[in-house]
């Protein structure tokens, strides 16, 4: 059974349609990439799945229809998004940001476990625990954004361009960590413009252009840049 089913999902900003009847589905344990050029509607797709803007069509997650579920309930159901630009809370400390990630988690032992997991993944966050988040480097902020999302206990982690604005090496490091998380069983839906990076890790990919899915790849289908270029051109 699929974990996430997006069917005929459309969204618009005012009168401008940004997403046209998009279909997407993924199974538990998968890592799926959404690729596409600027303005293709990738971020809109994630925001629509999260319920952050008015939509038509339907989103089914973990067997439950989310069409009438507000965003914060979707988050509680395990649908967690790392927004574009990371969305960390600059004036707050690293620790406060992390504890906000666990906002909906009341069980102290569960929080402690997740905290340990986050620190294993990103030891640097532990060193900077009492530092104001706005003073972190870009890479550290992205680590914090992912760490904060993990504190929420995601069933499906959605990331909007985690490599944006990062040095190539840092971007690779972040994506590698996401690959590890996926191998340990976490389902991940990742939006990326840097297709080669994402494709190295993802099982499958959807290609979006002007608000529509123009191509989807099967596992192992895309192995080279050249293959991908064909998808973009198709």
């Amino acid at each position: 059974m699929s974990l996430l089913d997006v069917s005929e999902l459309s969204a618009c900003y005012g009168k401008v349609a940004a997403l046209h009847a998009t279909n997407l589905s993924m199974s538990a344990g998968e890592m799926v990439a959404v690729l596409g050029p600027n303005g293709a509607g990738k971020s809109t797709l994630l925001r629509a799945i999260m319920g952050l803007l008015p939509t038509q069509g339907s989103v089914t997650f973990d067997g439950a229809c989310l069409d009438r579920t507000p965003s914060h309930r979707r988050a509680k159901a395990g649908l967690i998004m790392v927004p574009e630009g990371r969305g960390i809370f600059g004036p707050m400390t690293v620790a406060e940001n992390l504890s906000l990630g666990a906002y909906a988690v009341r069980d102290a032992t569960q929080r402690a476990q997740r905290e340990a997991q986050v620190f294993t993944l990103f030891p640097r966050l532990r060193e900077r625990l009492r530092q104001v988040a706005g003073s972190l480097s870009g890479g550290e902020q992205q680590m914090l954004a992912i760490g904060r999302a993990l504190m929420a206990g995601p069933v499906l982690l959605m990331l909007d361009e985690p490599s944006l604005g990062l040095a190539p090496r840092m971007a690779a490091e972040i994506l590698e960590t996401l690959g590890q998380l996926n191998k340990s069983g976490l389902s991940i839906l990742i939006v990326e413009q840097k297709a080669p990076l994402a494709l190295k890790l993802a099982n499958r990919a959807y290609v979006l252009a002007t608000g529509r899915v123009v191509a989807r790849t099967e596992p192992g289908q895309v192995t080279s840049y050249h293959d991908l270029a064909q998808f973009y051109l198709a």
Binding site: M50, H72, G90, P91, S99, A112, L129, A152
Partner: protein, 325 residues
């Protein structure tokens, strides 16, 4: 090695985390109290200082909504009016205890904030500002026109001084202590709030509503709760004002009050715990300090405000060592 769980508020470790900040706050308040006793012989300053403390309560509430939650309201004067008129009418016409009257008014203000906030808080930015401005204007008109209840422009006089359980704060100095206690309580409450789970969720909403919602925070509920809290603070300040002066009129709860509150927040330091108090004291005493300048008074007042905002854009509290945290 620092553990994350050690800085979660619950379960709190005894004597550990929120107290250093609270101590600083207590120090600040002690300074204020000292100042008060220094001027106690000079009853001339007691009145402006009393106003300062009342405004501090008002601004502390506004600070929860604007500073912590990052929203904007021009309508807080309406809730202060509910407190003022509620206290005046309940103690004057119905012989209620001042504390009970203030509490009842605050509950009414809170309920009204819930009813008003539910539709208006869906608006953001300028739209929210306009909607709340309308609330303030309506409450002003209401207090002018509903003469059977408010006596219109005449206002209500003969309001007894504040008192608790039969004890009446009759002298100026006793009234003063009541106001000091009220302001201290407000600041302590906002300090605790800031470092609570709820307080962090407000800061998250101020940072990004989408990011907050994506973490499981009910953004609408958080904003509504902040709005209700601000209304309760405003109502309390209105009640204090009524008892302190012994008289209320519609003008006292007009747009002027909102402008004062905003000025105090920005001068003192919006989003900080001590900012509302510092701003309220400075803004209330500034006119007294420059009274001798006669015709140039307003001019100098404006210049001083501009200088403060240029050289302390984060508010005077950034100088006091009582920083943003």
């Amino acid at each position: 090695m620092i553990s994350l769980s050690s800085i979660w508020p619950e379960p709190r470790q005894a004597g550990a985390w929120p107290w250093p900040g609270a101590m600083r706050l207590v120090g600040l308040l002690a300074a204020v109290v000292l100042l008060i006793f220094a001027v106690a012989t000079n009853s001339y300053l007691l009145t402006p200082l009393g106003f300062a403390l009342i405004y501090a309560v008002f601004a502390a509430g506004l600070n929860v909504f604007m500073g912590f939650a990052g929203q904007v309201s021009f309508g807080q004067s309406a809730f202060a009016a509910i407190g003022g008129y509620g206290s005046a009418i309940l103690t004057g016409s119905y012989n209620w205890e001042p504390l009970a009257a203030a509490a009842a008014s605050a509950v009414l203000a809170g309920i009204l904030a819930l009813v008003i906030g539910f539709p208006t808080l869906r608006l953001r930015g300028h739209y929210l500002a306009m909607a709340t401005l309308a609330i303030g204007l309506m409450s002003y008109e209401l207090s002018v026109q509903w003469e059977s209840l408010t006596q219109g422009y005449l206002g209500i006089s003969g309001i007894p001084p504040f008192g608790i359980f039969g004890f009446e704060a009759a002298t100026d100095r006793e009234q003063f202590l009541v106001l000091v206690a009220a302001a201290a309580l407000s600041l302590f409450a906002t300090h605790r709030l800031r470092h609570s789970r709820f307080g962090r969720s407000l800061t998250a909403v101020a940072g990004s509503e989408d990011a907050a919602a994506a973490l499981g925070i009910n953004v609408m509920r958080a904003k509504l709760a902040a709005f209700i809290l601000a209304a309760i603070f405003a109502s309390a300040s209105g009640s204090l004002l009524a008892h302190f002066i012994g008289y209320i009129s519609p003008e006292m709860f007009g747009l002027h009050l909102v402008v004062l509150g905003f000025t105090m927040l920005y001068v003192g330091g919006i989003g900080t715990v001590s900012g509302p108090l510092i701003g309220a004291v400075v803004i209330s005493l500034l006119p007294e300090a420059i009274r001798g300048l006669k015709d140039y008074q307003d001019l100098i007042y404006g210049v001083v405000l501009i200088l403060i905002l240029i050289y302390a854009p984060k508010g005077l509290s950034s100088f006091a060592g009582a920083t943003r945290r």
